[in-house]
Each structure stands twice: as structure tokens, then as C-alpha cells.
């Protein structure tokens, strides 16, 4: 059965020769909540731009609701809602006016717009501020308004490019709650994000992309099980100063003395070690490192998380940029003339 989004061997090479997407294949089923994860520059935004008809692909095929992104772009635009990484609201207009404008851009007319706008204001809890200028909204409110604008025309599929990056935890939770509700009403959601716990909770399936390729896909549960081991994260003292040396030394110790270790990966603070029954290994580890004169600053054991899945496949921990791009942008005011 073909999915509502079908991508096969998709390639995008930019004019300057940058290969942003190198032949990815995946498919999203109707009604699914699909997560698309990857470090910055992995090709997530490029893929979303191609699927939302903002960018032309170089080769391969991509279809949305059975429509080709090349030849049926105008049809696709009618049934998708798109939220870009940037929060785009017109700060000179009120919340309500922003929604009405978007309705007009979506070629809706008359009372249908008004009704839908009232409904949306309720959905994103902006009824009380509906007639205030969006310029006076907080970052979270702007994001909610932005989300509402993507829903005006009752899209079948929602494309969201990092919708919660830069938001405070409460706003983030609110956005995810709205998304969950929308998905339950039958809207397919395709989302890129850096917040793994939320993906874990909400996404039915996900794909991990790195350097323009899909390195893993499946349900969060399957991906975690694949790791099949607990992770022990080790932090070393002075790891920032002679981190290289300490890490090499530690790896050496692990190789020689620990058979149960299935994988060792570099992390920000030191090393992450994967092993069955990790908690039993801790005392031995401490002793071994002590003998080798390697000083540990932290040690922690956890059962596999999506972060581990991510780390295993990309060699990177996903790093959330907490510097709020949404807020700083708000301060300088995106004003439209």
C-alpha cells in the first residue's frame, strides 16, 4: 500500500555542489506521527522543503498524497500545512488578522474563514489575545499562532520543521499536546525536532538522518531494542585538557578487561559504553580505571534511550540549541512593509 508520503532515492545537490540529501527512501502512512531526526545539516530541512514544494529535487521521486512534487505542486499546496523553522507571523497584525490573512492566502472565502479562525483561536488558546497585535505576543504565543496559521485550510498533512526549538518547556509541552490532539483527529504529521523524549512519546515511527542519508528507521521501541544493551556514560576528569589521551587509555582498558562491552562511543564528557547488565559492571569498571590511574568524574547507567540510538547511528549526541532563536527574533521584530 502506498504511503501518504512516498520518497524514493531522493537526491538534492545544491548549485554550489553541496550534496544535502544523498538518495533517501522512506514512506509515511496516512495518519502517522512521523519523526525525522538528525543533527544540524543532516538534510532534514532540505527534505521538508522538497516535500512542501519549496525546493526542486535533483533526482529520485517524491510524492505527497499520491501527487508528484514536480508536476502537481499546486495541488499539494492545497492539502498541506507547513511550519518552517522560523516563526512567521505578521507583527503588525493581530492574531485574528494573521489567521484571516492566511485563510485568504489559502483561497478561502467569506464566513468559512471567520468560523475556522474562531475555532483555531480556541484550539491554540489564543482567544483572549486574538485582537492584540502579534508583536506583543510572547515567543510561545507567536509559535502557537504560527501553528494555527498552518491549520486554517484543514490540511491533511502537517509538515513541521523544528516547531518547538527555542521555546520554554511549558510552551513546548503545549505545542506537543496540540499536535497530539491533531494527530488523533486523523492529520498526518511529519516533524523534525531535536527533542528526543517527545519523539519517543509521540512519534509512531521515525527516521534518523545523518549527512544526507537515512541511517536508521523504525518505531522508537524497535530502535531502542536494537541497541540491546544498557549504556554506561563515563566522564573523565581533565577530559577537556587531555581528553584524547585519557579516552584512548580508557578504551584500551575496556578492550583488555571487559568482554561484555558491545560498543564504545565518544561522548561530550568522555565515553559511552554499551554492555548487557551494565549496572553489574560498574564496580569493576571503577576498579579497573583506578588501577590504570584514570580518574572518573561521573559515571551513570541507563537503559537505552533514543539518544543512545541517535548516538550509535550518527556518532553524535543530539544537541539542543537552547539559545532561543524565536525570542531574539521577536526582539528585533520582524516587521513587514
Amino acid at each position: 500500500m502506498p504511503g501518504i508520503i512516498d520518497v524514493s532515492q531522493l537526491v538534492k545537490t545544491y548549485g554550489d555542489g553541496t550534496k544535502a540529501v544523498k538518495g533517501i527512501t522512506f514512506s509515511v502512512n496516512e495518519g502517522e506521527f512521523f519523526g525525522f531526526l538528525g543533527p544540524n545539516g543532516a538534510g532534514k530541512s532540505t527534505t521538508i522543503k522538497i516535500l512542501t514544494t519549496l525546493l526542486q529535487k535533483t533526482s529520485g521521486s517524491a510524492s505527497v498524497a499520491g501527487l508528484s512534487v514536480d508536476s502537481d505542486a499546486p495541488e499539494i499546496r492545497k492539502i498541506i500545512g507547513v511550519q518552517n523553522q522560523d516563526t512567521v507571523v505578521d507583527e503588525d497584525l493581530t492574531g485574528r488578522e494573521n489567521l484571516i490573512l492566511q485563510g485568504q492566502l489559502q483561497q478561502m472565502h467569506g464566513p468559512a474563514i471567520k468560523e475556522r479562525v474562531d475555532e483555531l483561536l480556541k484550539i491554540v488558546d489564543l482567544v483572549d489575545s486574538a485582537d492584540k497585535r502579534a508583536g506583543f505576543y510572547s515567543g510561545g504565543m507567536k509559535k502557537r499562532l504560527d501553528l494555527a496559521t498552518t491549520l486554517v485550510h484543514n490540511p491533511k498533512i502537517l509538515f513541521l520543521d523544528e516547531p518547538t526549538t527555542g521555546l520554554d518547556p511549558q510552551s513546548r509541552a503545549a505545542i506537543w499536546a496540540y499536535l497530539k490532539r491533531l494527530n488523533e483527529q486523523g492529520i498526518t504529521i511529519f516533524i523534525t525536532t531535536q527533542y528526543l523524549e517527545e519523539v519517543d512519546r509521540l512519534c509512531r515511527r521515525l527516521a534518523i538522518v545523518d549527512l544526507g542519508e537515512i541511517v536508521a528507521q523504525g518505531t522508537p521501541g524497535d530502535l531502542k531494542q536494537e541497541i540491546g544493551a544498557d549504556s554506561i556514560s563515563l566522564g573523565f576528569e581533565n577530559s577537556s585538557m587531555n581528553g584524547g589521551d585519557t579516552k584512548t587509555k580508557a578504551r584500551h582498558v575496556l578492550e583488555q578487561k571487559f568482554d561484555g562491552v558491545s560498543n564504545v562511543v565518544d561522548s561530550d564528557v568522555g565515553l559511552t559504553v554499551y554492555a548487557k547488565n551494565g549496572s553489574y559492571m560498574v564496580p569493576e569498571l571503577v576498579r579497573a580505571f583506578d588501577e590504570a590511574n584514570i580518574r572518573l568524574s561521573t559515571i551513570g547507567v541507563s537503559s537505552p534511550t533514543l539518544d543512545d540510538v541517535f548516538l550509535k547511528h550518527t556518532g553524535k549526541r543530539i544537541r539542543v540549541e537552547e539559545v532561543s532563536s524565536a525570542n531574539s527574533r521577536g526582539m528585533f521584530g520582524r516587521r513587514r512593509r
Binding site: L54, R77, V82, V88, Q104, L105, R336, R337
Partner: protein
């Protein structure tokens, strides 16, 4: 597209400089008027056309920075993801720019009227002035739109606008008549598109001939039509370039 309620402060903010010119500059030079070419007219009457054009000039350059803003903020992308017709996006931009410059021109003309500048050719003449300004604004904003789309940098558009404004304005008949300039500058002014546009705006206000020697001649159609020819030529080039670059950005 149609219902972009604008921030009225913007209209006034960009009017600040023309109004200063209108109120102070004309006073500063009021006694010099007959030397720098206003003939029997008051300098204010003479310079109104130049100030109207100066405003249209700087107003047109805001279009380019606005389009950069649209690209950078993601607003353009958001519009492009809707079924809105591609050319309607550009057309709406131009239309709103023309609307703004017309509103500003009306304000300047009303202020000038309060300062004693009465149109020699009556309301019809002022309608023609407004139409000429709108036409000029359309062609001229093509320059800044093309620059904005090409460089995607508001600073560049600002910089180029700043570099162009005063040379083009001072080496034109905007603030002094051609006869007052040194001869090399006269030559520049004769080919300066700004001079053409200013002359076509000045004639309906003053009712004088191009050299201001004969007044009460009403509309000087040869001056006006010449200007329209020049503006149309500029418009074809700048808007053609804008359309081309817009297609590139959109696809």
C-alpha cells in the same frame, strides 16, 4: 494579498526627511530662490517637485529591503507553500509599494499647499503628478527589488540606495534648475532620469515652461511625455530583472 494592513508609523517615519526638506531646506534657500533658478516662483513652489521625487526615490528603495525581510523571515516561503499564484506575490508587493508612495505624495502635497504651493494646473494637474509619481515609483522600486532578490541583503540595498540618492538627486533639477549648475553637471543632469521625472512633476505644479522663463502655459506635454518614455524604459529593464530574479528565487 489585498488586505495587508500596514503599520501607519512606517509611512510617516519615511516621510520625515522629505518634510524636513520641505519645511527647512526651502526656508534656508528662500532668499536664494531667484539665483538658483526658481525665477519668479517662490523656492518652495520650485522645490516641491524635487521633494516629492526624493520621497518616491527613497520609498522605492524600501521595497528591496522589505523583500529581503520577507525572504529572511520565512514569510515568502510560507506564502509559497500556499496555493497563492506566484506572480500575485510579486504583484501584491509592487501594488503595496505604489500605494505607500501615493499616500506619502498626497501628504507632501497637502503640506506644501499649507505652505502656499498652489497647483497652477488645478486638481487635474495634481492627479497627473500623483500618477507620474506612482509610475516612477513602480519603475524605481524595480531597482531595489532586483537588488534585494539578487543579494538577499538589506544592508547592500541600503548601501546602494544611500550611495545613489544624493549624487542622482543633486545632479538633477530636483533642487536647483539646470541653468544654475556648472556646465559638466548640466550635462549629467540632462541625462539623469531623475531630472526627467522631476521636470514632469514640476510642470503641473508651476504651470511653467521647462526653463521657467514662461509661466501660465499649462501642461507642457513634450516634457511630460519625454519623462514617461524614460520612466517606461527604466521600468522595462528593472521590472524585467525583478521578474527574472523572482522566478529564480521561487523555483
Amino acid at each position: 494579498m489585498k488586505k495587508l494592513v500596514r503599520n501607519p508609523i512606517l509611512v510617516f517615519f519615511s516621510l520625515f526627511q522629505p518634510i524636513i526638506f520641505l519645511l527647512l531646506f526651502t526656508q534656508l534657500f528662500s532668499n536664494l530662490g531667484r539665483f538658483i533658478g526658481s525665477g519668479t516662483l517662490s523656492y518652495t513652489t520650485f522645490a516641491t517637485a524635487g521633494i516629492v521625487l526624493q520621497n518616491a526615490f527613497s520609498s522605492a528603495f524600501q521595497s528591496g529591503t522589505a523583500v529581503v525581510d520577507d525572504i529572511k523571515s520565512g514569510f515568502l516561503a510560507k506564502m509559497l507553500a500556499t496555493p497563492v499564484n506566484r506572480s500575485a506575490i510579486l504583484f501584491g508587493r509592487l501594488l503595496s509599494d505604489v500605494f505607500r508612495v501615493v499616500a506619502q505624495t498626497v501628504i507632501i502635497l497637502v503640506l506644501a499647499y499649507a505652505l502656499g504651493v498652489y497647483p497652477a494646473t488645478g486638481p487635474v494637474g495634481y492627479l497627473l503628478v500623483i500618477f507620474t509619481v506612482a509610475f516612477f515609483g513602480l519603475a524605481w522600486s524595480g531597482i531595489s527589488l532586483a537588488l534585494g532578490l539578487k543579494t538577499k541583503s538589506a544592508e547592500t540595498v541600503f548601501g546602494i540606495a544611500g550611495a545613489l540618492t544624493f549624487p542622482l538627486l543633486f545632479m538633477s533639477t530636483a533642487l536647483v534648475s539646470a541653468g544654475f549648475m556648472p556646465s559638466w553637471m548640466q550635462n549629467v543632469s540632462n541625462f539623469n532620469p531623475i531630472s526627467f521625472a522631476v521636470n514632469a512633476i514640476r510642470n503641473p505644479i508651476t504651470g511653467c515652461s521647462l526653463d521657467l522663463k514662461v509661466c501660465n502655459i499649462g501642461f507642457d506635454w513634450s516634457t511630460i511625455l519625454q519623462a514617461y518614455g524614460v520612466i517606461a524604459a527604466i521600468g522595462v529593464v528593472t521590472l524585467g530583472a525583478t521578474l527574472y530574479l523572482f522566478r529564480k528565487v521561487v523555483s
